[in-house]
Symmetry: C2
Subunit: 309 residues, 2 copies
């Protein structure tokens, strides 16, 4: 590999789609050019030790975050790391895994933007949100059906985790270059059985593609750009992509964004998959997801073309 | 901790006394000021995987040596590491261990001087040898009595390991500041039931204490200094400490070496223990071991008093 890898952070609460987002990027970049790392493996304790101390995995005290920071620095310099491994099936700490950074390093988890040292390792950072009612419903459904919990147990766990998500995960939103919110459009009477729409906040912390020239009034219903104030009062560009956006419209927008890179590679056609690779069908595709993934790809490829100094 | 830790490497084949040597140093320095790390934990494989590939643990290919090098660099800079753990009882790779370097970092294992990068991390390096016949006899006795092997099995393993020790461990002898050889004095008809004598080669790669002024003719039988040529033909100071050296003579020599440090701390009185701490008796003490430990302590303390630039 020439030069340093391009580093992307994907941060968010559990069940917000971090892994789905990352998978599309790896499909597009190729497994030999990209490296993914889930930093929720830096657990200090086994599941039972954590329970005995009443810690959630979101609590920094439950993790070797100083080692995570160190490993992010090493990866950003192109060096290998021996990543600790937490086995989510057994709740135990197992044999570590050698990770060698390729051209593109995609880091997902609860804490990648927790410290200043960690933030300095990334070239592009994204924070994912999910409409909370929808996220809770999906998590309850999954844990009751697939993991043998009662609904009361899942709700109790959600409430405990909500406190730590507010304290430790959501503050990282302020440090993301891009904030994505997936949600049904309630004003139109949509619920979580409708395809989710995405609101993408593009902060002026990195050079985004010129969307003013790309998103035109013809696309108004499917995709549009608005200037608004973020929760913190700061001005920000907001790109809305409707869940029912037709694939041909988002394709046009993606082509135009991709063209701004000036690359000879064709636009990847594997974006927007909700299920595992190869399972393409209308129900397993999300046009908003495809647009978000393309924006992230744009930044990763841009960085490798014009590396930081 | 102010400044960088003082780093000592102890290298040698198995059953040469690396751990015994290190234990005395930690007893003398105190557990809160010293950190020990056994780098034979950087195994890439479990025991059964290694057997399937016909690899000994001495083979660099069986280890994450590039990660070991990285971790030694981090420790030398005073940074913590998450050390991988190989469980010698089960032959499996287990949960890692956080290691925070204190003032003195003592590294033992098969490969600490394997690479130039690793060697550059140390302030003093020692290679331990053991008369081979004695080492084999001790290893066979231990493995047959305590680990349920037949003598044939242990001998077969020894022959296989001998090939890799020659290829990968012994070349590191050339990079040590100090080479220690423990052996009975055969010319005097001694065997391994006699207390072992030590020959300590002091290479001019670091500033040793002025032994010419310390070892005087009165000590001749117990301890003496000779100028000789090493196996490689290079001139070297050789300090001989006899296994039957009286404690009061080695004590005088130790006091004189310690005085050259100009430290106010008293000479540690816990050196030379062959068994675990607290089990002091004539049979569990070795005067040659005490002198070797004091020489290493001298260099560790000297380095912390006058840190490298």
């Amino acid at each position: 590999m020439d030069g340093r890898p391009a580093m992307l952070a994907i941060v968010g609460d559990s069940a917000t789609g971090k892994t789905t987002l990352a998978r599309g990027l790896v499909d597009a970049l190729g497994a030999t050019r990209s490296t993914t790392i889930d930093v929720d493996n830096y657990h200090r304790h086994t599941r039972s030790e954590r329970a005995a101390q009443d810690l959630t995995p979101m609590n920094p005290a439950a993790n070797y975050l100083e080692v995570m920071d160190q490993h992010l620095q090493l990866l950003a310099l192109g060096q290998p790391i021996l990543q600790p491994v937490y086995d989510h099936a057994t709740g135990r700490l197992g044999r570590p895994r050698l990770i060698v950074p390729h051209e593109f390093v995609i880091v997902e988890g609860f804490h990648p933007l927790h410290s200043k040292v960690a933030r300095a390792c990334f070239d592009v950072t994204v924070y994912i949100e999910f409409q909370e009612a929808a996220r809770r419903m999906l998590k309850i459904r999954r844990d009751v059906h697939r993991r043998g919990y009662t609904e009361e147990q899942v709700v109790a766990q959600l409430d405990r985790r909500e406190r730590d998500a507010a304290a430790f995960i959501r503050p990282q939103r302020a440090h993301a270059d891009i904030v994505v919110r997936f949600a049904p459009i309630e004003e139109r009477g949509e619920g979580i059985s409708d395809p989710l729409s995405a609101t993408v906040l593009l902060r002026p912390t990195i050079p985004h593609p010129d969307l003013m020239a790309i998103v035109n009034p013809d696309h108004q219903k499917a995709i549009h750009l608005k200037l608004l104030r973020d929760e913190d009062g700061k001005p920000v560009d907001a790109l809305h992509v409707h869940g029912y956006a037709p694939a041909e419209v988002t394709r046009q927008v993606q082509e135009a964004i991709w063209a701004q890179l000036g690359t000879e590679r064709p636009l990847p056609d594997c974006l927007g998959q909700l299920g595992p690779a190869g399972a393409a069908s209308p129900e397993t595709r999300s046009e908003p997801l495809a647009v978000v993934q393309l924006l992230l790809l744009y930044h990763l490829v841009r960085f490798r073309n014009e590396p930081r100094t």
